[in-house]
Symmetry: C2
Subunit: 435 residues, 2 copies
Amino acid sequence: MAVDTGLTPPPAPALFTDRYELTMVAAALADGTADRQCVFEVFARRLPHGRRYGVLAGTGRLLEALPYFRFGDGEIAALREQGLTDARLLDWLADFRFSGDVDGYAEGDLYFPGSPVLTVRASFAEGVLLETLALSVLNHDSAIASAAARMISAACDRPCIEMGSRRTHEEAAVAAARAAHLVGFATSSNLEAGRRYAVPTTGTSAHAFTLLHDDERSAFEAQVAALGKGTTLLVDTYDVEQGIRTAVEVAGPELGGIRLDSGDLPTLATRARELLDELGATGTRIVVTSDLDEYAIAGLAAAPVDGYGVGTSLVTGSGAPTVGMVYKLVERDGVPVAKRSEGKRSVGGRKYAVRRHDADGVATAEVVTADPVAARPGDRDLLVPLVRDGEICDPVSPAEALSRAKAHHQRVRGALPPEAFALSRGEPAIDTVTV
Amino acid sequence: MAVDTGLTPPPAPALFTDRYELTMVAAALADGTADRQCVFEVFARRLPHGRRYGVLAGTGRLLEALPYFRFGDGEIAALREQGLTDARLLDWLADFRFSGDVDGYAEGDLYFPGSPVLTVRASFAEGVLLETLALSVLNHDSAIASAAARMISAACDRPCIEMGSRRTHEEAAVAAARAAHLVGFATSSNLEAGRRYAVPTTGTSAHAFTLLHDDERSAFEAQVAALGKGTTLLVDTYDVEQGIRTAVEVAGPELGGIRLDSGDLPTLATRARELLDELGATGTRIVVTSDLDEYAIAGLAAAPVDGYGVGTSLVTGSGAPTVGMVYKLVERDGVPVAKRSEGKRSVGGRKYAVRRHDADGVATAEVVTADPVAARPGDRDLLVPLVRDGEICDPVSPAEALSRAKAHHQRVRGALPPEAFALSRGEPAIDTVTV
């Protein structure tokens, strides 16, 4: 079931789990309900922050982890040490491998309030065990992808570079680089994302490199000697205008790019372009960084900028670092079930979903139904089989899964109505229709 | 240098690194500046979000990773594949092990704008390589700890439970559980945090467990049979009042606790307390969960609540998911250096730091100086030696490091002036004085 990627397998993910999943399994094993056939669904009650659409990301990472979701001797010993000593539970966990079915939206697809982005059919015990990991992965990765997609819109066709690793947990950084690439970020600074997912990596130098040298000129000379004239020189350590002049003197008009990382970027970029042109460096690109988010990127649309480096706001989801997806039991032994808690009611029963499109191929509604929908022209089935009897349906390498998700995202995003790409707060771009 | 913890070592952390750190090393090796002796400092220019103080967390995790920060054959091959083929660079990386010195604030200490929380003295090449990982760890963990500390204040002496794993990346969740425990969260739901850091874990059941059963009573009976009468029953799946009655019928007045996860919690908790008392369950605790943050916790101060479960807002830093720490070259071959970029100027030269206290032991200032400070009564030296010649100064297990950080935090937090604990936005509780 596992794909051999030539990489070290990830650390056993079974303990990335809330303790209550295991106490529930213990109690259900004891009273005979553990084997009841259940359907769990992952969905978000709303989009965060007045967003118009969400991007589902993380499915590929979840499928990567699934074959390793086992309780080995080390895990069992750790559970004992934490006071989980119920012999029936521990025996069951030692034998556990997921044997159920999973369907879901294809990774990279869009989602809206109530979209059933993942459906797990399994015994209660098997299904409930996956809750924490599934939500961790999907909530994090979808938050990053959803924010990143807005940045890509704001950047129009100019390339975006992901460079937020230092602003988030070191493993989250790898997942963030993956999610950003999925929606169209051209490259990432993160070397591990390059290794695991073949995300193209880029990077040249920081202010420290200039400060290391006796003067800016020696730093630029060293960088050009090592990385070639096509490199990007960081010109704002001391004085931007002098930095640009020195950069062109050192590299000549073939200089690949300059980077601006401070100050009022629209003004600075305009002046930099004029100066570069005056110096004959008409092909030298201007890359800007420095606390960019989708709004700052949009504010630079009229400026002569050739690329955006985005860090903090990307890896923190630009105000929405998690997307509030939940994993709910919706059916038990064929009977729809739902809680009735105030403000958190859910709709029972397994769901099916199609996205409806008009004659021009523009999405018009997310149709979520209790029974499979009779397809109309323009309907696209949203749920695809991911796991059958515990086996990944279409095992591919992590890099190939990302590449497919990227292509799928580009396709489905093109079908959104134009108002979906407004950056202002608003309603979801299409309504979710529950039938 | 590595402490044998009996655990699988973490995945090789060397590629949790921005590509430009390596291109800088390559260029510096080529022009002979790689060996210049450098001092890098980690500090935050400001506290996020009008906070009054920050909590430094992550130092222990960084020290855990340092011995594994090596470039093995797999890493070197991955770099080649990404186009980093410079032979001098790859040879140097293959031999790399950090051989410099690191000082820093003790983990769990407080920090303020400009506090030099970590100082790395090494050759340029060795020092610059650690930048990305150091910032990832400290920015993430400090964000969580800083938010968690405010929740602990708001909760007064009532216990807080960390339960946010599902709302953040699965590895970030483990670090978040660790950071929360550091500042005083009693327990976590995260089993891996239990394994790696001996954070006490707790958990009982979710709504799914009630829905799995034919009725609420059977679910409660199963849970009490498996976990004992001291367990906490979740009573809001259907009707709270009926849920409480059933819970006490099933477990008797010895019922350990009930959990409320929806609705208007102050009102519900008050009614629940009255009903429990009426039913004779006067010792049964009331635990509340459901999108709590420090403000919601404060809003429950007058309600009869015995514990708070906190998820989303904790693991996302309650509005500040990262704290903006930077890693800056401040000295090269004994010469202070600093960039002059607009809005991002930094102060050159290695710093020393003490926290000044008045005669009553209340902190009055963070004194950051270019030379070691002549100690006055009430001054506490903030920088402690962490690494000498590449060796961890005081190697302890991950759990022991956390336990020490927790004790240290409690001590230093007690020295803050009372206004530091206001939840409203404001200025840092003490001024940073640069001498």
